[in-house]
Amino acid sequence: MTVKTLSELLECTCIAGHGGLERTVTGGYVGDFLSWVMGHAEENSAWITVMGNINAVAVALLADVSCIILCDGAHLDEDARRRADENNIPVLASSKPAFALALALGKALGL
């Protein structure tokens, strides 16, 4: 499934990194501690978090996750937005909590 399709199914709004919307999503990860995410998130995961800073974008890039889903209406910093645009890391915004998004992601992926 593409990030774009996932974004529509989860009723998210893409707020940065539109160039990466055709990337494939095959799984998910939920977490806010960046090293934890680096150590455990699998490649091509949709990463659900409240971390909207520039380091989160760096982690997404280096750990090869497909997109960042900012849950609970979490804020995306301006420098993070720029970095996400430069590197085509889609950032999807949602007002829903992490648990609801993880459930919806699992359903969308048929897991």
């Binding site: 501690f33 934890w36 680096m38 380091n55 760096a58």
Partner: protein, 149 residues
């Protein structure tokens, strides 16, 4: 000819101290080079993660440092060198969940105590040389799996 006699591509990066907005630049550049060279994605990911964690450590604890990266056909060797305070208890620092990072760093999402364990997990060889008041060298080798070492 064995691959060990091949001249590596050498990259040198300065990691700025206390600047979290620039942390990750060196790892991103190395990742870009390895991608262009067509390296195995698993090796690229391990290099990226190990190097980023190392960069962050130098930013948080050592007021920056130097990253020297040597890219061979079958492996990537990384030396992270800083002149920070040194690590008082390396064994403790290697434990998952142990961290001496200050609260403001935790607020950014770091300081989970997973940095060094993550680095070690990504590497085929991992060594720390540290001296209190002098600094720390972290030496890492990541081999391309399936290649002859």
């Amino acid at each position: 000819m064995s691959s060990s006699s091949v001249q590596p591509i050498v990259q040198l990066y300065e990691v700025p101290g206390n600047d979290f907005t620039r942390a990750g630049e060196a790892s991103s550049k190395v990742k870009g080079i390895l991608k262009k060279l067509g390296y195995d994605p698993d090796a690229i990911r391990r290099v990226s993660i190990a190097m980023y964690e190392g960069e962050i450590n130098m930013v948080i604890h050592a007021n920056g440092g130097i990253a020297r990266v040597e890219i061979f056909p079958d492996r990537v060797e990384i030396l992270l060198s800083d002149q920070g305070p040194g690590i008082a208890d390396v064994e403790k620092a290697m434990e998952e969940g142990y961290s001496t990072a200050p609260d403001e760093v935790r607020a950014l999402g770091f300081g989970a105590g997973m940095g060094l364990p993550n680095m070690k997990k990504c590497c085929d060889e991992f060594r720390i040389d540290t001296a209190i008041g002098k600094g720390t060298d972290v030496y890492m080798i990541i081999r391309v799996r399936g290649s002859k070492s």
